[in-house]
């Protein structure tokens, strides 16, 4: 920060992640209408517009919006069917909910600031949000496994294809990795979203310097393009990992 004098170069890449009340300046309580509320609401609106209004026609030859909705549907449906198996299709609405929420929230968070409107807020960049979703998946899958298989679900940790002598060691490793799942599941998404957005903000701060501005803008463009890709990929990764965990719950025997 060589030129960090008053009004000069200011690095505040994390400010975009601040949770602020939308009206007034009070403390953030549980029911306070915050920017989180706004962007969650926008996410719901976009999902409804895309999957309900867009697919309203049920045309034999789809319209553009219907085509997008059908592509998303087919994409996630096939993923659930391929990864979790035929009996995993029952849980397709849950996985679709997670996928479409993350996807739309990620993309909405990439909207540039427009005029006096508040700048975009990426709800999925917050560990509180991703951790809740990861814990929902973790608990849901674990409970499902025990309900379906009883104690037999524990055979997930007892690798019968390995030599008997190292099975206890593997079991310990498997149990640890099982409990680490929600951690990696949530931090992967939040970390990816946060890092990319923070990097954009860092480059944006450099744009204030006259002779670096062109380079800075080119870098922002490049990182932005990468972020568009990452937004999709992270939603996909979250959904496919959910499918993998679901498969373990439905078929714990290796």
């Amino acid at each position: 920060m060589a030129e960090s004098k008053d009004g000069g170069l200011v690095f505040k890449p994390m400010d975009q992640f601040l949770v602020k009340p939308l009206f007034g300046d009070g403390p953030v309580g549980m029911l306070t209408i915050t920017n989180v509320t706004l962007w969650m609401f926008l996410t719901v609106v976009v999902v409804v517009l895309l999957l309900v209004v867009g697919a309203r026609g049920r045309n034999l030859v789809p319209t553009r919006m219907q085509s997008v909705a059908e592509l998303l549907y087919g994409f996630v449906y096939k993923m659930v069917e391929d990864v979790a198996g035929k009996d995993g299709v029952k849980y397709f609405p849950y996985i679709m909910t997670l996928f479409i929420f993350i996807l739309v929230a990620n993309f909405l968070g990439l909207l540039p600031k427009f005029g006096p409107l508040p700048s975009a807020f990426t709800v999925t960049s917050h560990i509180a949000v991703t951790a809740v979703m990861a814990m929902m998946v973790f608990l849901g899958v674990t409970i499902l496994g025990f309900v379906k298989h009883g104690a037999g679900f524990l055979s997930l940790f007892w690798i019968s294809s390995a030599p008997l002598a190292i099975r206890p060691i593997l079991a310990v490793i498997e149990v640890i990795s099982y409990f680490v799942r929600p951690v990696s599941h949530s931090i992967r998404l939040a970390g990816n979203m946060m890092a990319g957005h923070a990097v954009i903000k860092v480059f944006a701060a450099f744009a204030a310097v006259y002779w670096i501005a062109p380079l800075s803008i080119a870098a922002i463009t490049a990182v932005y393009a990468l972020e568009v890709l990452v937004s999709f990929i992270q939603a996909y990764v979250f959904a496919i990992l959910t499918c993998v965990y679901l498969k373990d719950a439905l078929h714990p025997h290796h």
């Binding site: 200011v10 969650m40 909910t97 509180a128």
Partner: protein, 175 residues
């Protein structure tokens, strides 16, 4: 530094806003609300509708394919029927032509036989006529020979006995 104090305070206090636990209840509450709303909208309205549209399309396509298959089968059947009719007609034509040929042959045979019989009858008649002529000629030869022999005898100055001459000629003719 910057003038907006509210933001400044929060930013400088914790470093990462993600780790500010005081905002967690707020985020979690709105997240759960959003997820529940999305889940209800998807499971009640959106997913059945999109799934239905996809199923309709699949059915329409398979239906169209089946109809096309049926039409193709019909066309093949029609072609087979046409081929069969053609073959039948050809066979019939061949049968008619064979029968015709046979009839003609039969008629021809009859005519031939008739002609043969006529010819053989005519030739037998001619043969008979020829034999008669020859017999006549032979008889004439006898008479002429007798006459000539009698004349020769008379010319020789002998007295020709008609009976003797005749006998002599007959014996000569035999030998």
């Amino acid at each position: 530094m910057a003038t907006d104090t509210g933001v400044e305070k929060a930013a400088s206090s914790g470093g990462m806003p993600q780790l500010d636990i005081t905002t967690f209840p707020n985020q979690i509450f709105w997240l759960l609300l959003a997820l529940v709303v999305i889940y209800l909208v998807l499971s009640r309205v959106a997913l059945p509708r999109i799934g239905g549209a996809l199923a309709d399309r699949t059915n329409a396509i398979t239906g169209d394919l089946a109809a096309a298959e049926e039409l193709k089968q019909k066309a093949q059947d029609a072609e087979a029927a046409y081929e069969k009719a053609l073959a039948d007609a050809r066979a019939e034509a061949q049968g008619i032509s064979a029968k015709m040929k046979e009839d003609v042959q039969k008629q021809l045979d009859v005519e031939m036989a008739k002609a043969d019989a006529e010819i053989s009858a005519k030739s037998a008649e001619a043969q008979a006529k020829l034999a008669e002529i020859r017999d006549n000629a032979l008889a004439s030869v006898n008479d002429v020979a007798t006459d000539v022999a009698g004349d020769i005898v008379a010319a020789m100055g002998g007295k020709a006995d008609a009976k003797a001459v005749k006998a002599a000629v007959a014996s000569r003719m035999k030998g």
